[in-house]
Subunit: 349 residues, 4 copies
């Protein structure tokens, strides 16, 4: 076990058990099974309206497919310069859209702001056929910096999108962590705030490999079906994908898992921040911690056996720690103790 990532841990027992249960008997292939139908209903309930939810196995697939339903090949997607779709998907969105452009929007901090979007849009992308045509805004919730957009922030971006004829995508690889953090409903964090399509992440929250692409518009959902198939993301034995989501959405597994991860991150970051010289690069609002540790302290921690993961993107003294649905005290306590020991003498004892 480590704090490396929330995808180095395994799957939640409720989910594995449900897979085993769903293995019984035969089931229609390619999504023509009862479990898949129930998942659609569960998501409609979860989002408090009719939605069209499609299970896929990876976040890159979910994001790229969602974007490709709203962005023509000559389109442009505004996103944060550190967005997963920009940096960590090896041109997946470009592939699925047939060559659209992701436009990195310069922002202080970890979020797109209304001001930064307005400034980017004011550069005039939509004013001439020479330019890629803005089609969409994509935000990540929780963000790549471990922070969480407030509802009002999403609404502001949603308003900007609407008034400029753009769709709004929410990359929710850590959707549930953000919901728990905001203590809000899925509806509030999505369509009520102007979001058109959601990548709902389950893998990091305890699934084996399952995300849902959630549409609020039926026509786009129709197009998705063909795009999913041709990109190889339509599973033949789809019940095993759907089963993961069904278990996740049943009996609040999603909430319990996310709440555990968030609370553990909070406990860890609080303890670290109490150490002399250690600070957080960004507020810890979900289950990712980006912590600044002075070099001497970091060296001592490593010497005592702690595996610190550098995160140079946020500075040379920055380290990332991620908690998950199953991160236990046995994992974080040694980190806390090492940090305390490494920094104990610094204040002049």
């Amino acid at each position: 076990m480590s704090l490396d990532s929330d995808n180095t841990v395994g799957a939640s027992p409720e989910i594995l058990e449900h897979i085993i249960r769903c293995n019984e008997g035969s089931a229609g292939s390619y999504g023509a099974d009862d479990i898949t139908k129930r998942v659609d209903a569960l998501f409609s309930e979860f989002f408090e309206r009719e939605v069209f939810a499609f299970p896929v196995a990876t976040g890159t697939a979910a994001n790229s497919l969602a974007i490709s339903c709203y962005t023509p090949p000559f389109g442009a997607v505004y996103c944060h310069g550190a967005a997963h779709i920009m940096v960590d998907e090896c041109n997946g969105p470009e592939m699925f859209t047939g060559g659209a452009k992701l436009v990195p929007v310069t922002s202080e901090g970890t979020k797109l702001t209304l001001e930064s979007l307005e400034a980017a849009h004011a550069r005039g992308w939509s004013t001439s056929f020479h330019h890629a045509q803005p089609s969409m805004v994509s935000i990540t919730q929780a963000t790549e910096g471990g922070t969480v957009y407030a509802l009002a922030e999403i609404e502001a971006i949603g308003g900007f999108a609407k008034s400029n004829g753009l769709a709004l995508h929410l990359d929710g690889a850590r959707f549930c962590n953000a919901m728990v953090s905001l203590d809000c409903s899925a509806a509030d964090m999505s369509w009520r705030a102007g979001v058109d399509v959601v990548t709902f992440g389950a893998t990091k929250n305890g699934a084996l490999a399952a995300e849902a692409v959630v549409f609020f518009d039926k026509e786009k959902a129709q197009e998705f079906i063909f795009r999913r198939k041709r990109s190889g993301h339509q599973f033949s034995k789809q019940r095993f994908l759907s089963a993961q989501l069904e278990a996740m959405m049943t009996d609040d597994v999603w909430r319990r898992n996310a709440a555990h991860a968030n609370a553990t991150a909070r406990r860890l970051s609080d303890a670290l921040e109490a150490c002399e010289g250690i600070s957080m690069a960004y507020p810890v609002e979900a289950n990712e911690i980006f912590v600044r540790i002075p070099d001497a302290a970091a060296a001592k921690m490593r010497a005592s056996g702690i595996d610190l993961k550098s995160w140079p993107e946020f500075g040379p003294d920055c380290y990332r720690m991620v908690t998950s649905w199953c991160t236990g005290e046995e994992l974080i306590d040694p980190v806390i103790r090492a940090a305390q020991a490494a920094t104990a003498g610094q204040d002049g004892i």
Copy 2:
């Protein structure tokens, strides 16, 4: 349970159990785990040489990725007109290659023949920049008609490919069924016969969702890694994909499952063929049966509760039945009895 397809059934117990086993503890994400390493070794052993085997979740992904490593956007792939890549992947290969062309090669029956390939190639595709440039041949083993290429047939196609500078892809969605049918080695059915890249199917043979793309060339394998990532087929918790393949390749699970499916198909087809007026559209050499049933008999069978699946592609009187790793006598016996009953009076007794 039904004979609809080999992907309406669930997963083999050995595979599910291994997934549960592999869920313990943490593991490197994105393929940096021990199980994935072992899978590579297992496939090298299986193919009797160093191979580069990559787990993906679907056949469309495996085929499209394999082809995209050998076919430029201006390339052309010769395949059978009924090939899965041509008919059933919603332009997946076209997407992954960036717009290459699949050239349907006219053949009698269910296989590409040397003659049909030579005739297609003689039309001169490679002679001018006006045309798509032939880059590859793709064959399906076992075929979409339930037959199996003999080793000599693959070797002939492999020779044609080599001498014309083309790569040879083998879509082995039912690779193991074909191996069992031929009673040959994986090496004989692939690289020794001139195959460059294999889609090794596990899903239909008892996995939840797992195929392997098997390269014999290291450079192509390198390129695959980027193509897999950007198409969304690199799993974060890859251990769960690899675990399926590890279980499949251990203790001959692959062989047992395929042998059961083949033997059951044989028993069923033998019994059907013994019925007056019923015949096979093509020789039953793996686990798919395409059977011609006179209309009157088919109507009687349906009336007695048998769910016959029409296969108009092979004629108006043709029906498909597929056996799997778990098809039991309770499933085929009623079909046989109904066929016998439906045809009993036809010869005038």
Copy 3:
């Protein structure tokens, strides 16, 4: 000079002269010039309704762009197996559509027939998300075999397209030759017969490099503008493209040029057909001749200095001859004389 093709000849004097005229002074770039505006008006007059006509420089660009506005990446285009878009554009339509499929429809002869289309469509492409989704039919007028669709034939195909929700594209690389042959209006040969988008060819008919993509639907025309730009087919000094079309559409240059080519082809083919043993592979209805010449006669003709161009696609004894807007008697008379001489003794004189 030769009969090799209608693109080995130069440009019509009216067109060159107009280019020189249009070179005077400055003009808005990227299509914001007066000549381009006039071209739009000329085409609207020519087609007897409001059209949206865009000049591009090559037939591959015109065809691929036209198709890409009507075909999603998961789409399929029915066309003749010998269609230029299928055989001679090196996967251009596949590139512009982002990976759609061209489905070669088996037809006797040089035309798509209603029957052949219905048979292809009955194979069920549109019935499942596994398959590429039919979006369009594309026909070539005049055809790749030198024949011309009768209006009723186009109407039948147009009706089929409409009733199946497909768009109809007409590749009119030799549009004017066909119009002259049918002695019909552009409207009759296009939108009145159910055609949605036309590639109007001017290059072969006397331009330097100019075709027009003609839309009857404004929304599609909007999309075209972005697709043209990103594919590099928006000229900065567009007046020079538009000037070619303006000259072509003025004072019946288009008709005179096409009529000359057709009449010359007719004269040549009539004379050849009168020779013992020589026959036409297909009726000569425009400016292309596909002629069968017995081997001995062909050898004699070549020995007398005639450059015969083999056309093996239509058989080992088939040769192609193409007349153009400027093919003179000095070019065809020697061919006729050589054919007469080569076949003179064959009937035993």
Copy 4:
């Protein structure tokens, strides 16, 4: 006439005359003509080594094709944030590469610098399969800000590219203007400095519509041929493209035209700079002027009939003026006089 752009003017007389000359007689189509052969030789002489030069009609085509021969779909191209390929080609490079990414490199001023490239590369794009893989650097010469890279600056970037396994593309839409400005050879400004492929612009320098893509590597040149064809940029009557380039490269037309444009820009900018309160946004080193004019003065100039073109990208007080091969004194003198008049009283009269 105006100073709007160097593509609102017509074609140089030498070029038009040569087109007329080349219209005589027939010529092999699709590049199999003598003029095209001579153009290849002319470019080899011009670049002082064997090159493979291909005429196309637009800069977007030339750039996108050049890039696509060096960049896989999972690749990344470093370029300036204001680069034409980034901003003004409506995702052309993304289309031709099948979805590669252009990475805007933050630079002060109008040029990529070694430091800015090193900083971008240090972000680690090439270190993991999660990221797009850097394949290329693209620079514009002269730049989008009217400046010209010194040879040493190109060499530094060339060295960076080589040592990091990247290819170097030079977008030379104004190649000749830059050569004249540097008074250097084409070889010095390209392959001797580490450039792998050049877009050689002729349209802005007096052609109707012609650019050359110049390769120094034969293998890449082979691939180009197929990519050109499928993108619709292989002209059938290619002699008319080649003729423009032949005329341009003969008798120093390229140099005369570029020298005239540069000298006129210099005269204009010198005179403007002498006006109180007017300054240049960037040094005027080729034929583009970006000039800052105080609001009051700009208003007066407009009132006196001068058509000032705002260039907000470089600031609210910035205007662009472009001279061309044929910009005469009658065009710039009124601008100078108006500027003088508009600023005359500002220094306290």
